[in-house]
Amino acid sequence: MKFEINGNKQSLEANFTIDANELVIKTGGNELRFEAIQVQPGVYSVLMNNRSFVVGVCPSEVNRVNVNGTPINLELLDAVHLHLRELGWDALKEVKAGLISAQIPGLVTKIFHAPGDAVKEGDPLFLIEAMKMENEIKSPVSGTVKRIGVTEGQTVEKGTNIIEIV
């Protein structure tokens, strides 16, 4: 599978293939053997061609990865996403569909739905107030509200799960 990796103003193309328990990464004529073992939820010990790294994948932000302490805002685009991007779609929204979390810390002032409600893509889901500005969050998908993790009037951190739609 071909991927484009974007992070901290750098970009790389690489090909990922799964070979038994290992991941083989091909890039710029090099072949790298990548092995990751989870040591804690979201924390991996990585050996890439026997070079050792500790990698943290942020539980609340899908695209934030920390390698040996260096935080990277990562974008991992596969062939489908690359094609969609060419067509003008935002690939990242696709990845996050279904589980809607707070993108900013703030106060949840209004939730428009209850578990079991059917929602259509584009329906308003909740209002979040941050720095005296009210933001309406719309549903990225159509489906049924599975659960709601907060109540109205609750202050949330960035990354807090608000609504899950299945």
Binding site: F3, I5, G7, N8, K9, Q10, L12, A14, F16, I18, L23, I25, T27, L32, F34, A36, Q38, V39, Q40, P41, G42, V43, Y44, V46, M48, R51, F53, V54, V55, G56, V57, P59, S60, N63, V65, N66, V67, N68, G69, T70, P71, I72, L74, L76, L99, S101, R147, G149, V150, T151, Q154, T155, V156, E157, G159, T160, N161
Partner: protein
């Protein structure tokens, strides 16, 4: 000597004080808020008492309740740590009135040094230099010019009615003076509705250097050399070291003398810190005195080998100091990095959440004073400082290398911290050269943040591979109960946020 001490604090400093108490054979009493029932200081203590709800005004600042606990537990003394009640004169007096020993200076000394104008007036009566300037706002321009000429240019025109750099002008010579005063007055008027300005000496490339002092009830006062604290952001210290790479033995001895004189001037007893500003010509000026144990005290402990908390307790029980001035020597070099739960890349915004993984550095010369463990929730109620990493080595270069090594080893997963920011500082060439001043962060802000975000192709590949692996693992296990377990933590923390 006391048999039991109550520690009126939480977090790393509560634990720090308790450790020394236990080594001295003294029992320790903890107090805790509703949010801190399982906090490290509660687990460490011999006794622990609930004192109120999570906000500190309802708990750690509620001194009537803390005094009740002291009586109930039979504690003979109270150590206030830093922050909270440590510089509260009412608390210090109430504790004494209750027949309990306050481990800190007399209320009168806290009062003098706590009020900046009173402190300045007290210091003007001594030989200790204070930053020269006009005491009153400028009424007569020719009189003000005369003062400026006496002080020597450059001088600073500052707004009397507010801060933040508004209404401030640096004046390099007497012919610029009148014009600059006019501009500063107009700017102050529009910014604060108050056009009054005053003159102060402009300190070029200032250093923030402080001296640790110890004073007992038998009239002995000594200083334990300096700590260089010029690495700050938003007026808050991030990294401190001792010895200062900026001052020599001669200046050290003069400043040490001034620190002792400062302590004498307010009849100080206990451990305290005298802060100075030092300009690039190595002129020093009294800034303020902190009448408590400082956050950065371990830097001094590492180079002098003296346990400052033990000395505080001895002084409070009327024992004479265990050391004389001539016994004080500094060995090697110590650097402290403060680890805050903050997102350095996002203007140091506080970061809260669960610590999902924790690896604290150890090995030779590496000390961590903290109060964290895996699974603990960092709440928005208290100071965002998680702890302090103090590295000691035989010389400054080795201490820098050791700090960088230890910071690389340090891993806190689940929240943002200043670990990487500190790493960017300790490997910055200007910091390594020791030629930095208090403008370091402002001057090198962009370089530091660029270093923070720098990654190689290799790192980017590791990141991409890990994310791919992570997402695939989640996809593979999406039908098993494991996936609920994995996503659970986010929901749990959201719900915790509601309850506390």
């Amino acid at each position: 000597m006391f048999k039991k001490i109550l520690i009126a604090n939480r977090g790393e400093i509560a634990l720090r004080v308790m450790r020394t108490c236990r080594e001295m054979g003294i029992e320790v009493v903890a107090v805790f808020s509703e949010a801190d029932r399982t906090a490290p200081h509660v687990l460490f203590a011999d006794e622990a008492y609930h004192i109120g709800s999570a906000p500190s005004t309802e708990s750690y600042l509620n001194y009537k309740k803390i005094l009740e606990v002291a009586r109930e537990s039979g504690a003979e003394a109270i150590h206030p740590g830093y922050g909270f009640l440590s510089e509260n004169t009412d608390f210090a007096s109430e504790v004494s009135r209750a027949g309990i020993v306050f481990i800190g200076p007399p209320a009168s000394a806290i009062k003098i040094m706590g009020d900046k104008t009173m402190a300045r007036q007290t210091m003007l009566k001594t030989q200790v230099p204070v930053v020269p300037g006009t005491e009153e706002p400028i009424a007569d321009i020719s009189k003000a010019l005369k003062v400026a000429e006496e002080i020597g240019f450059p001088v600073l025109i500052k707004a009397a009615g507010g801060g933040g750099g508004k209404g401030m002008r640096i004046v390099n010579s007497s012919d610029e003076f009148e014009d600059a005063v006019g501009k500063a007055e107009r700017e102050s008027q529009s910014a604060f509705g108050d056009g009054r300005v005053y003159v102060e000496k402009y300190l070029e490339e200032p250093h923030h250097i402080e001296f640790q002092i110890l004073a007992d009830t038998h009239g002995n006062i000594i200083h334990l050399n300096e700590r260089e604290c010029s690495i700050q952001r938003r007026y808050q210290k991030v990294i401190e070291e001792s010895p200062s790479p900026f001052i020599d033995d001669d200046l050290r001895s003069k400043m040490g003398q001034a620190a002792v004189e400062t302590a004498e001037s307010c009849k100080y007893i206990g451990a305290g810190t005298v802060e100075f500003l030092v300009d690039k010509h190595r002129n020093f000026y009294f800034l303020e005195m902190n009448t408590r144990l400082q956050v950065e005290h371990p830097v001094t402990e590492m180079v002098t080998g003296i346990d400052l908390v033990a000395e505080q307790i001895r002084i409070a029980s009327d024992q004479p100091l265990s050391i004389k001035q001539s016994d004080i020597s500094s060995t090697g070099h110590a650097i402290e990095c403060r680890i805050y739960a903050e997102d350095a890349a996002n203007d140091f915004a506080p970061s809260t959440g669960e610590i999902v993984m924790l690896q604290i550095p150890d090995g030779a010369g590496t000390r961590f004073d903290g109060a964290i463990r895996q699974g603990i929730e960092i709440t928005p109620y208290y100071d965002p400082m998680l702890g302090k990493l103090i590295c000691w080595a035989k010389d400054r270069d080795s201490a820098l290398n050791r700090s960088e090594r230890a910071l690389r080893e340090f891993y806190i997963g689940g929240i943002e911290t200043t670990i990487q920011f500190c790493r960017s500082v300790v490997r910055h060439p200007v910091f390594r050269d020791g030629t930095y001043d208090t403008h370091f962060y402002t001057n090198f802000r962009e370089e530091l943040h660029a270093d923070l975000a720098a990654s190689t192709d290799e790192v980017l590949l590791v990141a991409g591979g890990s994310l791919f692996h992570h997402q695939n693992q989640i996809k593979h296990s999406s039908n098993s109960s494991d996936s609920t377990k994995k996503t659970r933590s986010n929901w749990v923390s959201a719900q915790l946020g509601r309850n506390v």
